[in-house]
Amino acid sequence: MNIDTKEKESSTNTQIELRICANPDYLCVARTAVRQVAQAFGFSEDKGESITLAVVEALTNVIRHSYDGPCDKPIIVKLNKINYGNENKPALEIVIRDFGKQVDPESIKGRDLADIRPGGVGVHVINSVMDEIDFSRADDCGMQLRMVKYIN
């Protein structure tokens, strides 16, 4: 599910940007924004809700793991309508940037679902919902998650 460098550079003009504190109180704000954007970009209500879920899981992971809990540090969510892939199909691109700990992107994996226990399934949810995802270290500090979902 890696996104190649050429594609990473394909969208430089951010259409919508949301900046929130790494605080669960503001997850509802992100939910509302993503639902509205998904609807505006032509997703069905069900797909829009799945995308919203993926974003909430990503933001929750940032708060829990990158920042080790709620704090005043920022999380930036960028949403773009792009043409993507070999067939240049319309898609929603979501980039989530934090300024917390950097980890090896290869180490970010969902756990085995056969092991039924609470927690640890956020990455699995993101993987299941989105068509492509890519974790990377940001240039100076923190991590970046880029997700793509085709509109049709």
Binding site: L27, R31, D46, L53, E57, L113, V121, V125
Partner: protein, 119 residues
């Protein structure tokens, strides 16, 4: 009898006794912000040692994996203590979280509270 007055009105809408069952009514949007509150409510209910714990989720409009984790924890407690956990009224957007995490089959899920209480 419903007593919702002492609970935060956003997610915990009430707790009722129905015969040998305790019914916990939830509503709103369950995420990282409120899952501790939900977890604490379950702990409080465990003290009552319910034979059946019914979680009515008819009014839950959104739930992420934090909420799901809390329900998995409740299911484990019920299994370890000879109780039954029954979930009621999952709207599709909530049910899809169970489906994505392949946990739908481990829970007893009912369309209505009456159905959950009669089985």
């Amino acid at each position: 009898m419903t007593d919702a007055s002492s609970y935060p009105k956003d997610i915990i809408r009430g707790v009722r006794h129905e015969g040998q069952a305790i019914v916990l009514e939830l509503g709103g949007e369950i995420d990282m912000k409120c899952f501790i509150e939900l977890k604490n409510k379950f702990k409080e209910l465990y003290q009552k040692k319910p034979q059946i714990l019914v979680v009515n989720m008819t009014q839950v409009q959104f739930m992420d994996s934090s909420g799901l984790a809390t329900l998995v924890g409740a299911l484990k407690w019920c299994r370890q203590n000879g109780s039954k956990l029954k979930l009621v009224g999952l709207v599709q957007r909530v049910r899809s979280v169970f489906e994505i995490c392949r946990l739908e089959s481990i829970f007893q899920i009912y369309d209505s509270e009456a159905e959950a209480l009669s089985q």
